[in-house]
C-alpha cells in the first residue's frame, strides 16, 4: 500500500485480520480467509494496511526499547562515575590525614581519656545508660581495594565510621544485595540506625539477620546489637533477654560486654 494514499479503515476487519496474522484461525477458516483476500479488494487493502501498522509498531517498540536501555545505562554509568569521583576524593583526603593523623590521633586519645576520667560514672551507682555498656562495631576496614571494587559499600562504611549516619544509610540503600549479601546489608543498616538513635527501626533489621542461619558469626553479632537496640528503645525486659542469651554464648564476640551489662543489674525491673 502506498504511504501517500489514505489508509483504509481497518475497524470492520480488525478481528479477522488480527486472528489471521497471529495464526489463531483453524485451517479451514484460514483457507477461506486467504481466498477472500484474493477476491475482496477492500479486504486485501485492509490486510496490507494492517501489515504496515504492525511493521511500524515493531519498529516503534524496538526504537523505544533501545532508547530506554541507553538512558538506563547512561544513568548507571553516571552514578558509578560519581561514586568513583567521590572515592578518589576520599583516597586523597586519607593520604593527607595520614600525614597529620598520628599526632592528631594521639591528642584525641589523650583528650578522650581525660574527658572519660572527668565524667566517668561513680562506682557506687552503675550507669543506667545503654551507651555506657555498648561496645560498637566499626564494621570492616575501608581499604583502597574495597573502595575500587565496591565503591558504594566503601563509601557507606566510610560515612558510617565518620559518624555521618544519614549519608551512610543513603549510600547503603544503593548497594545491591547480590554483590554484598542480604544479611550483611541488614546488619549494617541495623547498626547504623542504632548509632543514629533509632533503636525501634534498628530492631526490624537486626532481627532478620540470621533468618537463614542463626548460628552464623553475623547472627551472633546482630543479637548483641539487637539487645542494645531494645535497651535504647526503653524495652529493658527484651533487652535483658537478648543480652542474657549473648552472655551465655561462648562463641559470641560480645559475650564479655553482654555479661558486664547483665551483671550491672540495671535492666532488671525494680519490683
Amino acid at each position: 500500500m502506498s504511504s501517500s494514499t489514505p489508509s483504509p479503515d481497518l475497524r470492520p476487519y480488525f478481528d479477522d485480520l488480527e486472528r489471521f496474522a497471529d495464526g489463531q484461525m483453524a485451517p479451514a477458516e484460514q483457507e477461506a480467509f486467504e481466498l477472500r483476500l484474493e477476491q475482496d479488494e477492500a479486504m486485501a487493502d485492509g490486510y496490507a494496511a494492517y501489515e504496515q501498522l504492525t511493521a511500524d509498531l515493531r519498529w516503534a517498540a524496538g526504537h523505544n526499547t533501545l532508547r530506554l536501555r541507553l538512558q538506563a545505562l547512561d544513568e548507571r554509568m553516571n552514578q558509578r562515575g560519581d561514586a568513583l569521583a567521590r572515592t578518589e576524593q576520599l583516597v586523597k583526603r586519607r593520604r593527607r590525614w595520614a600525614t597529620w593523623g598520628t599526632v592528631g590521633g594521639l591528642l584525641l586519645v589523650l583528650a578522650t581519656a581525660v574527658a572519660f576520667y572527668l565524667v566517668r560514672p561513680g562506682r557506687a551507682r552503675p550507669a543506667r545508660n545503654w551507651e555506657a555498656y555498648y561496645q560498637p562495631d566499626p564494621g570492616p576496614a575501608v581499604t583502597t581495594g574495597l573502595l575500587h571494587s565496591r565503591p558504594l559499600l566503601g563509601e557507606a562504611l566510610d560515612q558510617y565510621q565518620a559518624g555521618h549516619y544519614p549519608a551512610a544509610l543513603h549510600s547503603l540503600g544503593r548497594v545491591s544485595a547480590a554483590s554484598v549479601g542480604a544479611d550483611t546489608l541488614l546488619y549494617l543498616r541495623g547498626l547504623i540506625l542504632l548509632r543514629q538513635g533509632q533503636g525501634d527501626a534498628a530492631q526490624l533489621y537486626l532481627r532478620r539477620v540470621g533468618d537463614e542461619d542463626s548460628t552464623s558469626e553475623l547472627a551472633r553479632r546482630a543479637r548483641y546489637h539487637l539487645g542494645m537496640a531494645h535497651w535504647q528503645a526503653k524495652e529493658p525486659i527484651e533487652a535483658l533477654a537478648e543480652l542474657r542469651a549473648v552472655a551465655a554464648d561462648a562463641q559470641n564476640p560480645y559475650q564479655a560486654s553482654a555479661r558486664k551489662a547483665v551483671a550491672a543489674g540495671v535492666l532488671v525491673p525494680k519490683d
Partner: protein
C-alpha cells in the same frame, strides 16, 4: 568484513540490541572527549548526542537502509553524529517524508499508551514472545488473557492513530 561483524547487522535486525548497548558503554567516555574538543559540547549533551546517533543507526539497520556494517564503525558513528550537529535536524539520512512522518506519529501515540500496553505490544511485536510466555512475564493467568490484552492494546493504539 569479518563474519561476526556481518552477523551483527542480522542480530540487530531481529531485535538483539546488545551490540549497540555495548558500543555505548565502551565509547561514551571517548566520544564525550571528542565532542568536547570538536564542538565544545558538555558531557551530558555529548552523551545525549551519542544516544540519538545510535538510535539513528539502529533505525537504518532495522528498515534496511544500512545493509553492510561499515569497516570502521567508530568513524562511521562519529561521522553520523557530526552530520546530526551540522544539519541541526533530528533525523539523519531520513526516510521519505510520508514514511517518516507516519512512523513518528505512531511512535508518539505508542508513547501515549499506558506502561502495561507498551510492554505487552513490545513483548509480542518486538520480542516475538508467544501468548503463553507473554502471560507469564506480565503475570496474566493464562495465554487467552494475554491474547485479549494484546488485542485491546492494539485496538487502543489504532484508535489513537485514527
Amino acid at each position: 568484513m569479518s563474519a561476526p561483524l556481518a552477523e551483527t547487522l542480522t542480530q540487530l535486525r531481529v531485535g538483539n540490541q546488545k551490540f549497540l548497548v555495548d558500543f555505548y558503554q565502551r565509547s561514551r567516555h571517548l566520544f564525550a572527549r571528542w565532542a568536547q574538543r570538536q564542538f565544545k559540547l558538555e558531557a551530558p549533551q555529548a552523551h545525549a548526542l551519542l544516544q540519538d546517533t545510535l538510535l539513528d543507526f539502529y533505525d537504518q539497520v532495522a528498515d534496511g537502509r544500512l545493509t553492510l556494517l561499515p569497516a570502521d564503525l567508530r568513524a562511521h558513528v562519529y561521522g553520523m553524529a557530526q552530520q546530526r550537529l551540522d544539519a541541526q535536524v533530528p533525523a539523519n539520512v531520513p526516510l521519505p517524508a510520508a514514511e517518516a512522518s507516519r512512523r513518528q506519529r505512531l511512535l508518539t501515540q505508542f508513547n501515549q499508551l499506558g506502561a502495561d500496553c507498551q510492554q505487552v505490544l513490545t513483548y509480542f511485536y518486538f520480542r516475538g514472545y508467544h501468548f503463553e510466555k507473554m502471560g507469564g512475564k506480565m503475570g496474566f493467568p493464562n495465554a487467552t488473557v494475554a491474547r485479549l490484552q494484546k488485542s485491546t492494546c492494539l485496538r487502543k493504539l489504532y484508535e489513537l492513530l485514527k
